[in-house]
């Protein structure tokens, strides 16, 4: 099995351990993953090859308060190709204080099933 060609070598990004995963195809043509130290590694590698997902973070200016920014991220990962379309949506945001940590600033952004949330508190 291990003499089959490696389709991709990738580093698991789910935690700082950073397992080196190798993905091969077995006799039946199914993808096989090796090198994972925990059971999150296999689904990660398969998703990473077939359909990579990422969270994203940025910050946007708060309306009416000079030089105050609120940092934001997504409540969960999205397909990697959605990063720039979502960033364009976030760039239009000018939220008003007060803002609480975890507050939803854009619900279900671009129909992706995740929200853009504030990651810090901004007092008025």
């Amino acid at each position: 099995m291990s003499d089959r060609p490696v389709l991709d070598r990738l580093t698991c990004v789910l935690c700082p351990v950073g397992c080196e995963l190798e993905v091969r195809k077995d006799e039946a043509g199914e993808l096989e993953v090796r090198g994972n130290q925990c059971d999150k590694g296999v689904p990660f590698a398969l998703e990473e090859i077939l359909h990579p997902r990422r969270n994203l973070a940025t910050s946007v200016p708060v309306r009416g308060i000079a030089s105050r920014m609120v940092s934001v991220r997504l409540s969960g990962p999205v397909p990697r190709e959605m990063i720039f379309p979502i960033l364009a949506e976030i760039a239009r945001l000018r939220p008003e204080a007060p803002i609480s940590r975890g507050q939803v600033l854009i619900a279900d952004v671009l129909g992706m099933g995740v929200d853009v949330i504030a990651t810090r508190t901004v007092e008025p």
Binding site: V13, P16, G18, E20, A57, S71, V72, R101, T119, R120
Partner: protein
Amino acid sequence: MIDPVETHDVVVIGGGPAGLAAALGARRAGAGKVLLVERDRALGGILNQCVHDGFGLFLYKETISGPEYAERLIEDVVREPIKVETGAMVLDLTPDRILRVNARSGYKLIRAGAVVLAMGCRERTREMIEIPGTRPAGVFTAGSAQNMVNLQNLHIGNEAVILGSGDIGLIMARRLTFEGIVVKGVFEILPWVSGLERNVRQCLMDFGIPLELNSTIVEIRGRDRVESVVVARVERVVGPGNDDGLAPVPGTETVIPCDTLLLSVGLIPENELSKRAGVALSPSTGGAVVDQALMTSVPGIFSCGNVLHIHDVADWASFEGSAAGESAARYAAGERAARGTVRITAGPNVKYALPQLLTAGTAGTEWSFRTTCPMRNAQVVVEGKTTGKVYVRKKFNRLLPSELQKIKVRQAVEEDVEVSCHE
């Protein structure tokens, strides 16, 4: 001489993850009066500008962003009767733990039962790595660029080159890409990446940003603003005048037009106060020499987080802070452990091991270490220098200099030991 105007059981200097956790640790271990001093206007330290996610996996069992991580720790601190002074600068610290503080309310003297150093680190600059060329605008350390982009909404340039593959540099490569800035490449002088693997994948490979190892910037060009940088390959050269053995190869220079250069070329523990207090520093960590309780060479002064040694994961800084705070509370309550006499030294392929000192006979401790180069199928060995006894032998699939590692030493250690690593 003015008499001390305030007395606290434990004073923590620095309100980043290590300092916040230290203040909480001190309370948990029974310290009555705890003071946390932070020179910035707000608590949280560098976490406030680290808007990316990936923090907190060990402490909170989920991945969150830096600001969220900071706010959670701050909320815990605020719930406790911990006195917090922000916008306050500790000007001096004496070996008998008198602090001179320039606080918002004015200058004051503070007497501390125990002190926790948690001042963090600062970035290496262009001057420190001596890049030749002109002195135009547009050269930033990666962390200051992060502050300008994430906290000040400043547009720092249009086309950037990043020197050094530290984590902040990698994170900023992605961050600049998000801002529409073209990142033309990341150049690293060593044959390996200094940042975490996951950041290479998520921050560079995802966006097709080139990474070139064994290369460096040999000249910065431009009059008012950076116009280009000259990149060259480096090679190991043995001979006089090359202390680190790496030198640019003539004829390999390439000119890369850009208006912005980010430097991610290392972090330096900020130990000016520690030196004033007479704390002995280690040349291999740049931080204090500590024992298993994280106490420095000056009794009653403890150290944790990036001021002790550079961490790649905030959680480790928090855990270390927590432990230092607990030790400080016990010291302030009058507990005195025997001083560390057993020396823990770094052997082949190990950059440093921490703590550097151990009270003879101590069992069940956890040590941190870092390797000098990437290693595969490696064995880490802790060996007695007198008896040759092997205290620990542990296998690692892979060890990287970018990743701080931990090793448990269950047995009691009575003699000087060496930590080494072999493939």
